[in-house]
């Protein structure tokens, strides 16, 4: 996974609440087996017209936001379906950081697996940031310092779980970490569980 340290970019603002993962990545494209190249389906029904041409009134089709690496969403961004394609499509589109008051929980967890940083900030902080976003101001995100700032002088700390921060900064893969560090603990757990709950180990 690509390590995440700092990014500098304009931010695209999509203030609507409850943008679900069906909106971010419509179900019909879930039949696609490949992970690479799915960025073109991001927000497809919103971003494209009936003929499959980009709608000029969509923020992500409008320069400079068409190359934004930061997306400021509304409350409960990424709710609904667990499809990880919702993150893959954003990452492939070039989005490295999504900011919102709250996220759908599964989407939030999925973000970290593809090097996308989800940042929770309250609506009172987000309102002026959205104005900066609309003004095309450059945003900076420093994950090490846990700071988001803008050219207009805004500066806010954000919270992130330490293990998730470490994994993003170092590009660590969680499965690797578990296999390398926890094999013994897992084996120990299994011996105990098999003894206590043998019905979960039938035919093994």
């Amino acid at each position: 996974m690509e390590p995440f340290r700092t990014i500098q970019s304009v931010a695209a603002s999509m203030p609507e609440k409850n943008i679900d993962t069906d909106i971010i990545f419509p179900a019909r494209f879930l039949l696609i087996l490949e992970k690479a190249g799915v960025g073109k389906y991001a927000f497809y029904e919103k971003r494209m017209d009936a003929k499959g041409q980009p709608r000029t009134d969509h923020v992500l089709n409008t320069p400079p936001y068409s190359s934004a690496q930061i997306l400021i969403g509304g409350d409960n961004f990424g709710c609904g379906s667990s499809r990880e394609q919702a993150v893959w499509t954003l990452a492939d589109f070039g989005i490295r950081c999504v900011i919102a008051p709250r996220f759908g929980e599964i989407f939030y967890a999925n973000c970290f697996k593809s090097g996308v940083l989800p940042v929770r900030l309250g609506e009172t902080i987000l309102t002026p940031l959205r104005e900066d976003a609309r003004a095309g101001v450059l945003f900076s995100i420093d994950l090490e310092q846990q700071v988001i700032s803008t050219e207009h002088g805004a500066r806010h700390q954000f919270e992130i779980e330490p293990r998730r921060k470490d994994a993003l900064i170092n590009g660590w893969d969680e499965t690797d970490l578990i296999l390398n560090n926890e094999a013994e603990a897992i084996a120990f757990f299994q011996v105990r569980q098999k003894n206590d709950m043998p019905w979960l180990y039938v035919d093994e």
Partner: protein, 470 residues
């Protein structure tokens, strides 16, 4: 020791390691695998050269992209065909059991898991599908995960997770006739919103639950995710145990007795602390229907579509304007005046035998409206067989419904059962998101009896207003 909730107990019994940042490594007992969220998980195994930790703990089935028409014909959509082919290939390569498409046990993951006894009280169960919360109806710690986490479970049998907070949903009184657990969960989502339970595990409590079937409980837990909660729980009881006894993968003999002892302790301690509590008075509930594009856009059937003037916040008003436009509705119109084109009875929310029985009771001896196309789609081959043994297929067919093969069908626009742009459905599924049932499709969520009534009348209607006899 501190009083514990059911969720706390399930969590505690699966901790492999607690980390100092507050997260824990949690052991996963059972993993359901479907065709949509698994290909990339398997591919990553190949790329990293990893093996499956415990192949017997995974069970695979194709459901999302499966056509619900004649199974003897090849699948027309090459993408769906390829995705299902990939699941067959992957499960063969890695030695995981897959239920074939033409097997009577095939069906929607969240219907077959419980049916086979793969789902059991006290286990941790995951699936790359958000409606995995369904299995919490058995007192299992069950939640949906992404494809990368599926990969992690395949390779390590574990997930590193943050513990959720606890929310109790106290259900008081009992449900009136024709009001169902679908109405309970819709009313809860209407009350707390789609992020109302984010970060929490829901536990449904109340005397009424003891009188509800497992099917009714599964409907309740299924849509916990629509309130923001990954986990929805009901403590196991006699109904749970009677349901599980004799199921193919349930323990038997001595192991059954041993499991029973363990299961009987799976309940929240009296006076256990919940971070939040919500109460719902069941006696006051009426049938609910959604009018918008989020499950929280829900009202009793007697209500009217909200007006723009009733909304103060500007962003919310803009959203309502967009929603009304998408849904083709006018603010202020009566919900009962909304005409529907299609009716869908099925899905992991309401595709079980009891749902089909309830809907069949409404349409028996009557005809659906001439303007409506209606589908009855059993959630699994077992449900289908049971329904046919009871003659329910004929009841639906006589009324003008189509009777289909099992699958996710019109809940998700990944197979031929879809809405065309602008078409409107009365649907027993779980999500009314834009495009969920097909690009431009308009979805109204409701219970099976309400969807059946809408099929008869051609518009949304209070099932209790149908004239007896038909």
């Amino acid at each position: 020791m501190a009083k514990q909730t059911l969720y706390d107990k399930l969590w505690q019994s699966h901790v492999v390691r607690d980390y100092d940042d507050g997260t824990s490594l949690i052991y996963i007992d059972r993993h359901l695998v479907q065709e949509v969220s698994s290909p990339q998980a398997f591919e990553d195994l190949g790329t990293a050269g990893r093996n499956i930790h415990r192949p017997k703990t995974h069970l695979a089935v194709a459901d999302h992209g499966v056509p619900t028409t004649d199974r003897s014909k090849p699948i027309e959509d090459p993408l769906a065909q390829a995705q299902i082919g990939k699941l067959i290939e992957n499960t063969e390569t890695y030695g995981i059991e897959m239920i074939p498409l033409d097997d009577r046990r095939q069906g929607i993951v969240h219907v077959i898991g419980p049916e086979l006894g793969f789902t059991q009280p006290g286990v941790t169960l995951v699936c790359g599908d958000s409606h995995t919360s369904t299995h919490g109806a058995f007192g299992a710690l069950a939640f949906g995960i992404g494809a990368s986490e599926c990969h992690c479970v395949l390779a390590t049998q574990c997930l590193r997770q943050s513990r959720s907070k606890n929310m109790a949903v106290r259900l008081k009184g009992s449900l009136p006739d024709h009001v169902t657990t679908k109405d309970v969960i819709l009313s809860l989502i209407g009350k707390i919103g789609t992020s109302g339970a984010t970060g929490h595990a829901l536990e449904f409590q109340g005397e009424a639950i003891g009188h509800w079937s497992m099917e009714a409980r599964m409907t309740l837990c299924n849509m916990a995710i629509e309130a923001g909660a990954r986990v929805g729980l009901v403590a196991p009881d006699e109904v749970t145990i009677a349901w599980l006894k004799g199921k193919p993968l349930a323990p038997s003999g001595e192991l059954w007795d041993q499991a029973l002892t363990y299961w009987s302790a799976l309940k929240s301690d009296p006076d256990a602390d919940f971070d939040q509590t919500v109460e719902i008075d069941l006696d006051l509930l009426t049938p609910y229907v959604t009018w918008g594009t989020s499950p929280q856009d829900v009202l009793p059937i007697s209500a009217h579509v909200p007006t723009l003037e009733s909304v103060e916040d500007e962003t919310d008003r803009a959203r309502l304007r967009g929603t009304l436009e998408y849904m083709g509705l006018e603010g202020g119109m009566a919900l009962k005046d909304i005409a529907v084109d299609k009716v869908f009875i099925g899905s992991c929310t309401n595709g079980r035998i009891e749902d089909l029985r309830a809907a069949a009771d409404i349409v028996r001896g009557r005809k659906i409206a001439a303007t409506v196309e209606a589908l009855a789609v059993p959630g699994s081959g077992e449900v289908k067989k049971q329904a046919e043994d009871e003659g329910l297929d004929q009841v639906f067919l006589d009324a003008g419904f189509e009777w289909r093969e099992p699958g996710c069908s019109m809940c998700v626009a990944m197979n031929p059962d879809k809405l065309a742009p602008g078409e409107r459905s009365a649907s027993t599924s779980n999500r009314n998101f834009e495009g969920r049932q097909g690009p431009g499709g308009r979805t109204h969520l409701m219970s099976p009896v309400m969807a059946a009534a809408a099929a008869l009348e051609g518009h949304l209607v209070d099932v209790r207003d149908l004239k007896a006899g038909g």
